[in-house]
């Protein structure tokens, strides 16, 4: 019966398209709920019984907005964990490069050591402020991402990892830095997408 309930479930599925697995799960679960509620209505079977079940359930958009807000919190937590891991690994990689090169080992550029060090300092400072004041905002995470990317790139250039034969721990640490910055980018983009979706769902109309 492609009636009121089926149409409602279709709308809900569309509103939850930011998470396809959740959308499918909720479509199945909500349909079972609505059918049971409609069958408990004295007017069952009728479109009016389905309509009343849907009205008692609430707007699909409101439901999707609540799921989207929860998704923002989860994604923000993942992003901050990825940032903490990236900061820790970048710090270890920096120390390994200094141990290998010594303090004056940078033959490629005068600028690279400065960017390596101060971009990292900026990233940790912004991360500290962002964690306490703007935990659900994408901006501090994006600033940290850019600063860490600059620090990592400068560190790799500084050490000349592509030119000279670097020891395995230094190379592994650099590879871990690059992998983590990729993971952080993935999470920050995901957070931005979920924040936009939540804002759209909360917009009236």
């Amino acid at each position: 019966m492609a009636g009121v309930i089926a149409r409602y479930v279709d709308v809900l599925k569309r509103e939850l398209d930011f998470d396809p697995m959740l959308a499918q799960r909720m479509a199945d679960e909500v349909e079972a709920h609505l059918r049971e509620a409609a069958e408990a209505d004295p007017a069952w079977p009728s479109p009016e019984a389905e309509q009343r079940a849907v009205e008692r359930f609430g707007l699909a958009r409101d439901l999707a907005a609540q799921f989207a807000a929860d998704a923002v919190s989860r994604q923000a937590r993942r992003s901050w964990i990825a940032l903490a891991a990236t900061v820790a690994v970048t710090f270890i990689a920096m120390r390994l490069r200094v141990l290998w090169l010594g303090d004056t080992g940078d033959s490629f550029s005068m600028l690279a050591p400065l960017i390596d060090r101060y971009a990292f300092v900026v990233a940790t400072a912004v991360a500290g402020i962002g964690w306490f004041a703007f935990r659900l905002s994408v901006l501090p995470l994006a600033v940290c991402l850019l600063a860490l990317a600059a620090s990592i790139a400068a560190g790799i250039v500084r050490a000349g990892l592509f030119v000279e034969g670097a020891p395995l721990p230094v190379l592994l640490a650099a590879a871990a830095e690059v992998a983590l910055i990729g993971l952080l980018l993935f999470h920050v983009v995901g957070l931005g997408r979920r924040l936009r979706r939540t804002a759209l769902l909360r917009r009236p109309g």
Partner: protein, 108 residues
């Protein structure tokens, strides 16, 4: 105000045993004598959130009546969270009652 306590209310509704979403919302309505007449959909983000937090588990079941339902159950952590929430609520309710419930004059 209710929204802040919805998670605890849902956990309490599952204290008697596993149930599906429709039965949970009906239990909440009945236990509150119809005072908590929420839009029924409100329950699902809460159920999902509690499951993600490990306080509930869920599984699809097909009862003899034939309709497939996702049934939720309290986990050990959920039962422990409910006990903590209940203690906190009792303290809070007692304090509010003492403050605005009447029966004792404010000091002049």
């Amino acid at each position: 105000m209710l929204k802040g306590h919805l998670d605890a209310i849902v956990l309490a509704a599952l204290e008697g045993g596993p149930a599906h979403g429709y039965a949970i919302i009906e239990a909440i309505k009945n236990r509150s004598d119809g005072t908590f007449d929420l839009p029924e959909g409100t329950i699902y983000p809460a159920l999902h959130r509690l499951e993600q937090a490990g306080l509930l588990s869920s599984a699809w079941t097909t009862p003899p009546s034939g309709r497939r339902r996702r049934v939720y159950a309290l986990t050990k952590s959920g039962a422990s969270r409910l006990a903590d929430g209940r203690k906190a609520w009792t303290r809070f309710a007692k304090a509010v009652d003492s403050s605005i419930g009447g029966g004792r004059a404010w000091p002049a």
